[in-house]
Subunit: 122 residues, 2 copies
């Protein structure tokens, strides 16, 4: 079974997580049978290792890890690959597949550019 692991930065303010929970819920609504987890690098729980373990427990054998970051800097290029390595070592029977960051997807960039103009105050 395939699963999806959404990975976000995290913040002290709980309201920060709302758009990410919104993404998770919209994905889940479209594919109710697919396990979808949301994990955080810091300040919020679960972390990537905990959320990955949940997906394994749910029976996933292939997991896409999707960074919900607009820019790909140190968190996406260094921290995340290290965490992916740990997931792989702890769950050797599972394929963990790192996807490009959400901000590098053209349709997402276009949606942001469109929203920037659509919302102009006059």
């Amino acid at each position: 079974m395939q699963g999806l692991l959404l990975f976000a930065h995290g913040a002290r303010d709980p309201r920060w997580a709302l758009p990410f929970i919104d993404i998770q819920q919209r994905v889940q609504a479209k594919v109710p049978a697919m396990p979808v987890e949301l994990a955080f690098l810091e300040f919020m729980t679960p972390n990537l290792i905990e959320a990955g373990a949940r997906l394994v427990q749910a029976g996933c054998t292939t997991v896409d890890v999707l960074p919900l970051f607009l820019g790909a800097g140190g968190h996406v290029r260094k921290d995340l690959p290290e965490l992916m390595g740990q997931l792989q070592r702890e769950h050797l029977q599972v394929q963990w597949q790192l996807r490009a960051a959400i901000g590098e997807i053209s349709s997402v960039v276009q949606a942001m550019a469109d929203a920037a103009l659509a919302g102009m105050s006059k």
Copy 2:
């Protein structure tokens, strides 16, 4: 004249800025006559005050400030309003209008949810 000031976090890795530059360029391509600037909170330049001054110099009298943040935590709720106050004090003749964070716009959330599923590895 109306201007748009895009505000992103910034990072040490210059590649981090690419999606934000992409947004700026797509917006600018659609409205070539409107001044559009991209500013950063830290690590990258220009900062919000510098980019705002450029827009004023370009003749803007109304400026939308759009936070290119997915989640709205301390940076959007505390740091940015303080910077907006500084912009307003330094340019009393200009209307500075703070918009909701890009990650709080439903069409953007939907685009991310769609991209999450469209890119599933099998």
